[in-house]
C-alpha cells in the first residue's frame, strides 16, 4: 500500500468553509435582529424614528470606520455563507459543471466583496 499522504493534495475548501462558517455564525447571532430592524421595524416606523432611514444618517453610518467594518463583514460574510450552501446544493442537484457553479456562487461572493470594499472607500470617511 502506498502511503496515504502521498498523491493526496490538500483541498482549498477550508478557505470557503471558514468564510461560510463565519457568515453562518454572524447571521445566526444577529441575522434575525438585522432583518427585523432594517427590513420591518425601520421601514414601518415601528419603535424606530423616520430619521433612522434618512440619507444623512445612513451616510454617517457608512462613513464611520466601525460602520464600514460592520457593513463589510455583514455583506461579504452573508454572501460567502449563501455561496457555499448554494454551491453544495447545486452540486447535489447536479445542476451544471462544477466550474460554472463555482463562478455563479463563489464568483458572485468574491465580486460583491470587492464591490463592497470599493463602495465603502468611495463613500469616504
Amino acid at each position: 500500500m502506498s502511503g496515504p499522504a502521498r498523491d493526496n493534495p490538500r483541498s482549498i475548501s477550508p478557505i470557503f468553509w471558514l468564510l461560510f462558517g463565519a457568515g453562518g455564525m454572524v447571521s445566526a447571532l444577529f441575522g434575525p435582529a438585522l432583518i427585523l430592524i432594517t427590513g420591518l421595524l425601520a421601514p414601518t416606523g415601528t419603535g424606530i424614528p423616520e430619521s433612522f432611514l434618512s440619507y444623512d444618517h445612513a451616510l454617517a453610518f457608512a462613513r464611520n470606520p466601525i460602520g464600514k467594518l460592520v457593513l463589510l463583514a455583514v455583506i461579504a460574510l452573508f454572501f460567502w455563507h449563501g455561496a457555499e450552501r448554494l454551491f453544495l446544493t447545486l452540486k447535489d442537484m447536479k445542476a451544471g459543471p462544477s466550474l460554472v457553479l463555482k463562478l455563479g456562487t463563489y464568483g458572485v461572493a468574491a465580486a460583491v466583496t470587492l464591490a463592497t470594499i470599493g463602495l465603502l472607500l468611495a463613500i469616504g470617511f
Binding site: G23, F30, A33, I35, F78, G82
Partner: protein, 132 residues
C-alpha cells in the same frame, strides 16, 4: 470462476429531494436567504454611494409591500437557519467533557440557541434605545 463481477447501482439523481435528505436540502437553502438579505444591504450601499435621490428610491422600496413581504419570508428562513445551525454546531466540535462525562449534543444546541436569541434581542433593544 472466482472472479468477482460486482454490480453497481447508481444513487438516484433526486436523492436530495427525498426523505430523509429533504430536510438537509431545506437547511442548506435557508442559508441562501442569508445571502439574499446580504444582497438587500448591498443594494442599499450602492444607492447610498449614488446620492440622495437614489437612496430615496431605496427607502421607497424598503417601505413597499413587496419588500415587507420579502423580509417576512427572509426572517422565517433565517430563523430556520439559526435553529438548524445550532443543531449542527455540536457535530463540528470536539466532545465537551465536564466532570468526566461528555455533554449531550442537545444541551449544547439548546444553550447556543438561547444565546443566539439573546444576542439578536439585545441588538434590537440597543437600536430601539439608541434611536429613541
Amino acid at each position: 470462476m472466482n472472479e468477482s463481477r460486482p454490480y453497481r447501482r447508481p444513487q438516484p439523481g433526486n436523492w436530495w429531494a427525498k426523505p430523509p435528505y429533504r430536510a438537509y436540502t431545506a437547511r442548506e437553502l435557508s442559508g441562501v436567504a442569508v445571502a439574499i438579505y446580504g444582497g438587500v444591504l448591498f443594494a442599499g450601499l450602492v444607492s447610498l454611494a449614488r446620492g440622495p435621490e437614489n437612496w430615496a428610491g431605496y427607502v421607497g422600496f424598503l417601505k413597499s409591500p413587496t419588500s415587507l413581504a420579502l423580509h417576512v419570508l427572509l426572517l422565517a428562513a433565517v430563523v430556520y437557519h439559526v435553529i438548524t445551525w445550532f443543531q449542527t454546531l455540536p457535530k463540528t466540535m470536539p466532545k465537551l467533557i465536564v466532570n468526566g462525562e461528555a455533554v449531550p449534543a442537545k444541551k449544547i444546541t439548546g444553550l447556543a440557541t438561547l444565546l443566539a436569541g439573546a444576542t439578536s434581542l439585545a441588538l434590537v433593544l440597543v437600536v430601539l434605545g439608541v434611536t429613541r
